[in-house]
């Protein structure tokens, strides 16, 4: 374990995540558990989120997004690094010291069913955080819960039902209502709308935006749907195998992706138009998905990268090179423009100049 660095929050930053690591031990043996390795689920992630901002996080399944989210809300202890929230270093806070902060940052869980108590009625589930934090009499709480049911598009008739009596999307909205109940400052949303039809999804996304406008809420928004991420985010962070590979403002990321992985992601978005969709040419990632137990050397993406340069990408880990306006990407041979065909991508030109020769910019945190 490394000593946690207490990160400095600067000015308007609500959350600062500094070099956070989370390794899960792999053990064998039942009585005498022996550690034989570790899953490096999150491996040195740094970023910050301003008050009132939405940071989108995207990345391959299994790259560590949910683990990162759980570390941020302190449902998991980090293996290394530091997290500060609203000017306080929360890295080492005890359970009791964390309690008042739990009201200020809540989480919408990816697996709605697993996160809802199956034996409790929905009215109780949504009202529970209000009770825990003593936020009103029982009749006030009931009213608030009914209001919350309505804003997430559920019916008052759902108040007395159990979680298993709901559809997948309805359960997801129970999770949303629960996270909103205590008026938090930060909501970490892990796939909050993935199970919703586009209209209800629009309702929830509009709701999140309205709350942001009215109360200055801050969001971390993890999602696989790149259209949704683009709609909701101010900035977007792209992860690959436990590491940050690109961060940029929403517009820059979608218009000028620099990392080939980001390019591959953007090219793979299905289009809701059968004629256009069949013509789409996604950039196919070759090779197996690597494992976070033995990640590939240097740039983790190199075995699948269309621009891989032997002797460079597999030897020297790319830092987050700056590209102006806060856009950073960890690639020695970034994309020159966008869109590009798979063929053009393969013809990488010369490597980026060292960061010192570029306009000097501050790297995030």
């Amino acid at each position: 374990m490394e000593a946690a660095q207490a990160p400095e929050a600067r000015g308007d930053e609500l959350l600062v995540v500094n070099d956070v690591k989370k390794y899960f031990p792999i053990t064998r043996g039942i009585i005498f558990q022996k550690q034989i390795g570790s899953v490096q689920a999150v491996d040195g992630v740094s970023f910050s989120v301003k008050k009132g901002e939405t940071l989108g996080i995207v990345g391959e399944s299994g790259c560590g997004k949910s683990t990162l989210a759980r570390c941020i809300v302190k449902l998991l202890d980090t293996t290394g690094g530091g997290i500060s929230f609203d000017g306080r270093d929360i890295t080492k806070l005890s359970r009791t010291a964390m309690r008042p902060i739990r009201r200020e940052m809540t989480m919408i869980f990816q697996d709605p069913y697993a996160s809802l108590n199956p034996r409790k009625r929905v009215g109780f589930i949504i009202g529970e955080p209000l009770e825990v934090h003593n936020l009103g009499s029982s009749s006030e709480i009931k009213m608030r819960v009914q209001e919350l049911l309505e804003v997430v598009g559920l019916n008052p008739e759902h108040y007395n039902r159990f979680p298993h009596e709901f559809s997948g999307g309805q359960r997801q909205r129970i999770g949303v209502a629960r996270a909103l109940a205590v008026n938090p400052k930060l909501i970490v949303c892990d796939e909050p709308v993935s199970a919703l039809d586009v209209s209800v999804q629009a309702q929830i996304l509009n709701l999140l935006k309205d709350l942001q406008d009215d109360f200055g809420l801050t969001y971390i928004f993890i999602a696989h749907d790149l259209n949704v991420v683009r709609h909701i985010s101010d900035r977007v962070l792209v992860m690959y195998l436990g590491k940050v590979v690109e961060i940029a403002s929403r517009d820059l990321l979608y218009a000028e992706p620099k990392h080939p992985y980001t390019g591959a992601l953007l090219s793979a978005v299905p289009i809701a138009n059968p004629a256009l969709g069949r013509k789409r040419e996604p950039i196919v990632l070759e090779g197996d998905v690597p494992s976070p137990v033995n990640p590939p050397s240097a740039c983790h993406f190199h075995p699948r990268c269309p621009r891989f340069v032997q002797g460079h990408c597999d030897v020297e880990e790319p830092p987050l090179y700056p590209f102006g306006n806060g856009h950073v990407a960890a690639c020695h041979y970034p994309l020159e423009r966008w869109p590009m065909s798979a063929d053009e991508i393969r013809r990488a030109s010369s490597p980026v100049q060292s960061p010192s020769s570029q306009s000097r910019e501050e790297l995030p945190a």
Binding site: S61, G62, D111, Y113, N160, A195, N206, N227, A272
Partner: protein, 340 residues
């Protein structure tokens, strides 16, 4: 004979507050090698339709009627034994909630091996090899090593892929996939869809694909069924559905879509709240939210009938066809303009 023919399927749940009519007269048929996409409002009965076909609703408070003819035999009448032989073998299902359908105290491997051995007389070793093969096919890295992990050690998307592996492990004739790729990034999603297409090519399997992702539907389905409040409101060939949608709810769906090409501060949402299934609206169930509502819509249920132009394009709306074509054209123009 169709592979699967569903006729007037109905399912209701008896709850403390009353009877919830979750599926109300759904009919469709499916041929070998065909893919049917089901889209629709959250809570409109898509999952329950499929669970009913599979005989997987809780018996205690559920009443179902209608027919689901599988190779000519009604699944709703089958004995539990018979049904178990069909399920997981000829028909398999990828469930929407991966965590609830995986057993938390069993390793991933044991669950997959059991799925094989339930229907095949093969050794442990062969079943295990098959399990590893499938885990690799769905893109689980280091599959040999991770097969002995427990579900909680997998990420959301990895659990979903385990479910997919389990559903594919016996090369089913019909795969029912309920939101199989919601927890997956677009590149993994593409890989899974290819895997499903391969199953279709190699074994002529049919697929029912429930998804909210209209992009995925557009790229995978042959036919699409649109559900609203327990009923089918539109059913058409994929090009027809996207090219000339005929139901105001379908328009609402297509209009709500956030698209990479557009810039909107607020997404367009269908006004009003989703309907109650305890006390559904009279007439057309969409009428309280429909911008085109007429008097007749409030009292008379519109039947699911073919359009004049295309006998295969079914829709349930009282509006005249001219208005519908005009609205569909407007919507398309708007989304195309956005796509620029």
């Amino acid at each position: 004979m169709a592979l699967l023919e569903v006729k007037d399927l109905r399912t209701s749940f008896h709850t403390e507050d009353g009877i919830v009519g979750a599926v109300d007269g759904v009919s469709f048929s499916l041929e070998k090698g065909e893919t049917l996409g089901i889209v629709g409002e959250s809570g409109s009965g898509k999952s329950v339709t499929c669970l009913t076909i599979m005989g997987l609703n809780a018996k205690r408070n559920t009443v179902s009627s209608g027919e689901a003819l599988w190779k000519g035999k009604n699944l709703l009448d089958m004995k539990p034994r018979e049904l178990r032989d069909v399920r997981g073998n000829e028909i398999s299902m990828i469930f929407q909630d991966p965590m609830t359908s995986l057993n938390p105290v069993q390793t991933i491997g044991n669950q997959l091996i059991e799925a094989v051995q339930l229907h095949r007389d093969v050794s442990q070793r062969v079943a295990r090899a098959r399990a590893v093969e499938l885990l690799k096919a769905v893109g689980i890295p280091r599959a040999e090593g991770r097969i002995d992990d427990y579900p909680h050690q997998f990420s959301g998307g990895m659990r979903q892929r385990v479910m997919i592996a389990m559903a594919l492990i016996n090369d089913p004739d019909l795969l029912i996939a309920d939101e199989p790729t919601t927890a997956l990034d677009v590149t993994t999603q593409a890989q899974i869809i290819n895997l499903m297409k391969r199953l279709q090519e190699d074994f002529g399997s049919a697929i029912i694909f429930i998804t909210h992702d209209l992009g995925v539907v557009a790229e995978t389905a042959d036919d699409v069924l649109v559900m609203y409040a327990a009923r089918v409101v539109e059913h058409a060939d994929v090009d027809q559905l996207f090219g000339r949608p005929q139901h105001p709810y379908t328009w609402g769906l297509m209009g709500s879509l956030p698209r990479l090409e557009t810039d909107l501060d607020r997404l367009i949402q269908i006004p009003g709240q989703p309907p109650s299934l305890l006390r559904p609206p009279a007439g057309c169930r969409f009428h309280p939210r429909c911008p085109h509502v007429m008097e007749v819509c409030k009292t008379t249920v519109p039947e699911l009938v073919p359009t004049q132009r295309d006998p295969e394009h079914l829709q349930a709306c009282h509006l005249d066809e001219e208005t519908k074509d005009r609205e569909a054209a407007k919507l398309l123009e708007a989304t195309m303009a956005k796509a620029g």
